[in-house]
């Protein structure tokens, strides 16, 4: 049984199709990222899986429980960290965690024990008794994730967990999420490609409500880009060498002594050796990896941040 399963999951708001016939099968213990630009349908998909929105068509289940027919069974099993940092601003960390824990039916002792551990992990112990309205964005975000975890859910939904955070705070949250991998099923939405790349077991690229690509980061890159590329900075390139390179490789781009060579099964050593053999000075050379953004652009023709 998959932890999360959707079949033709669709949500329409009047004329707008926010999520369009999405099929997902997320394994237990998997960290799955939905990557897409703002408005792609990521949050709407999560809201349906958290029983906050009823699908227009299709079905969705979490650990075998249908989100429409058995919403309270689903809610018992999930933890949610919403996109906006939503906390009770005049409560302190303990009180925010206790609220969620006790609403999930945990005993006071259990809530205390789990809260203590989470506050230590999230580095919030020193400010645990302060009202959270005085916290920075990063601290609020960490507490929000702790609130999603306090009930020890089997399935965790993290909607843009690092949105608006500085790189340092973002990295700290990534490190924590990475520690959860394998123990919990995590569905993470993001529009940061580095985030999806760094954390995910598998990635679903979503655009205009549709899943346009699905696989591991490497699978997405290799299946999208059949060719690899290499950038070379040279000193004394002759027209003869350029002509020869054009014959040897699939595509060649040149600008001010810089070469960009595209070819399937590109060999770094082979190119450097060839250039040396033809008397060309090589100042620098590097094989280039496509990024998930390149994948997104290649598939949708749009920038990820559009």
């Amino acid at each position: 049984m998959n932890a999360i399963q959707t079949f033709k999951l669709t949500k329409e708001f009047d004329e707008l199709v926010a999520v369009n016939a999405v099929d997902l099968a997320i394994n237990k213990g998997e960290l799955f990222s939905l990557l897409g630009p703002n408005g792609a349908g990521k949050t709407t998909a999560i809201r349906m899986l958290c029983c906050l929105l009823k699908p227009t068509r299709g079905t969705a289940s979490v650990l075998g429980y249908d989100v429409v027919r058995t919403p309270f069974a689903v809610k018992d099993l999930i933890g949610v960290s919403p996109q906006e940092t939503i906390l009770s601003e005049r409560l302190n960390c303990w009180e925010n965690l206790a609220l969620i824990g006790k609403v999930h039916g945990l005993s006071s002792n259990k809530v205390k024990e789990r809260s203590k551990k989470l506050l230590e992990t999230m580095g919030l112990v020193e400010r645990a008794k302060d009202q959270v309205r005085k916290f920075s964005g990063g601290m609020k975000r960490r507490l929000s994730i702790a609130m999603a975890l306090v009930s020890d859910p089997q399935v965790l939904f993290l909607d843009e967990p690092t949105l608006g955070l500085d790189p340092q705070a973002r990295r700290a949250i990534w490190e924590y999420i990475a520690t959860l991998k394998g123990n919990k099923t995590i569905l993470l939405t993001t529009h940061y490609m580095e985030e999806a790349d760094a954390l995910s077991d598998r990635i679903g690229i979503i655009d205009e409500g549709r899943i346009v690509a699905l696989g591991t980061s490497q699978e997405l890159k290799t299946s999208t880009f059949k060719m690899r590329s290499m950038a070379v900075s040279t000193g004394n390139l002759t027209p003869e060498v350029v002509e020869d390179l054009q014959h040897r490789y699939t595509r060649l781009e040149m600008s001010r002594g810089k070469l960009k060579i595209y070819h399937q099964d590109l060999s770094f050593q082979e190119i450097v050796d060839y250039l040396h053999s033809r008397g060309v000075t090589v100042y620098s050379a590097a094989l280039e990896q496509p990024t998930l953004e390149d994948v997104f652009i290649e598939i949708t023709g749009k920038q990820l941040r559009e």
């Binding site: 029983c51 906050l52 309270f72 809610k75 939503i86 409560l91 009180e95 006790k102 039916g105």
Partner: protein
């Protein structure tokens, strides 16, 4: 209990918010202080006078009309035919003075005999009683055309009220204070909806009833504490509770429930917390036309009728009456209004709030 946890959180959000508390407690207390200080012991406008016409003659009617035309006096309706009715209303705090025109008023006037009238006033109002006596003697002599043919006997009705100004303002301002619960409840609900806190809570296994209880019950201790604080300050300013305090609390409780219901309605309908400010457009004028700060006799009949269809005027009238000594049976008509509105508004609030949980 899940509802208890949600309710506890909401209670903390209220009592840790100085702005909300300032509105909820500070404003009514400031009003109480300002009004009782500003108007304490002074009559600023015409004196309200009730009439008991035991003569029932053309002459007595003409005299009443003549009195009514005097700027210094406002004749209060209805004109009583029996003194016992006026006595009861004086006891209930509904009126402060009444003038009895005895049988034989017309005959005494025609035979040039001295006409004896009886002016009864609340014991706590001797200065105004004397002032009124002088006015009636002057106006009466003018009416009869011969001076001093009119003798107004001044009688003090027993009253335990030490400061009638405080006893007048306290119930009105206490009800106004409880009307502020409209804005408080609306703001908490609207803010939690706007900021997504409710959505977050909807992803937990809490049931709809947990939310309904968690978002309505915390206001009840707030209501009770507010009423107690108002009462404490009122007593400090000289409030005399002659009647049954329990009835007064029951009235405050019922009007508080209505206010919470309206707050839930507003909070469920508005798009953002800032829009809950519209509730003040309702709270302030309604408290005014409901007689919180001045007698409703002075507002146009159409406005008075409108206010009469709402619960607040009934809460003010009934609490004023029970504090001044009226029995439960005397305020039963007001209680029907209060119970009816409390049930209707609270139920509507629950239904609309429930609807916010359904996408």
């Amino acid at each position: 209990m899940k509802s208890w946890e949600i309710g506890k959180r909401n209670l903390k959000e209220i009592y840790r918010n100085p702005v909300l508390l300032g509105f909820l407690l500070g404003m009514p207390l400031a009003f109480m202080l300002v009004f009782t200080t500003a108007f304490g012991g002074q009559q600023t406008g015409p004196i309200g006078l009730s009439i008991v016409d035991e003569a029932h003659t053309q002459n007595s009617s003409a005299f009443i009309q003549y009195l009514g035309a005097t700027q210094a006096i406002t004749l209060r309706q209805p004109i009583y035919s029996q003194e016992s009715q006026a006595q009861n209303d004086l006891k209930d705090g509904k009126i402060s003075f009444y003038l009895t025109i005895p049988p034989g008023f017309g005959a005494a006037n025609q035979s040039q005999q001295t006409v004896n009238l009886q002016l009864v006033y609340e014991e706590a109002n001797p200065m105004l009683g004397l002032q009124l006596k002088a006015i009636i003697e002057a106006v009466g002599s003018q009416f009869l055309g011969v001076a001093p043919a009119l003798n107004v006997q001044l009688t003090a009705a027993a009253s335990e009220i030490s400061n009638p100004v405080v006893n007048f303002f306290f119930p009105g301002i206490a009800v106004f204070g409880l009307m502020i619960l409209i804005s408080t409840a609306a703001e908490i609900i609207a803010e939690d909806r706007e900021k997504g806190f409710l959505s977050r809570m909807f992803t937990t296994p809490a049931r709809p009833w947990d939310f309904i209880a968690g978002y309505s019950l915390p206001f009840i201790p707030v209501l009770i504490i507010s009423a107690l604080i108002y009462l404490g300050v009122g007593m400090g300013l000289g409030l005399t509770v002659v009647g049954n305090l329990g009835y007064a609390f029951l009235i405050f409780f019922l009007i508080g429930l209505s206010s919470i219901g309206i707050g839930m309605i507003v909070g469920s309908l508005v798009k953002s917390a800032s829009q809950t400010g519209v509730s003040w457009i309702f709270i302030v004028p309604i408290s005014m036309i409901s007689g919180a700060y001045f007698s409703v006799d002075s507002v146009p009949p159409a406005v008075r009728d409108f206010a009469g269809a709402l619960p607040f005027i009934h809460a003010i009238d009934a609490s004023r009456a029970v504090i001044n000594g009226a029995s439960l049976s005397a305020i039963m008509p007001d209680m029907y209004w209060l119970v009816g509105w409390a049930v209707a508004l609270f139920a509507t609030g629950v239904v609309l709030f429930r609807r916010t949980m359904v996408s």
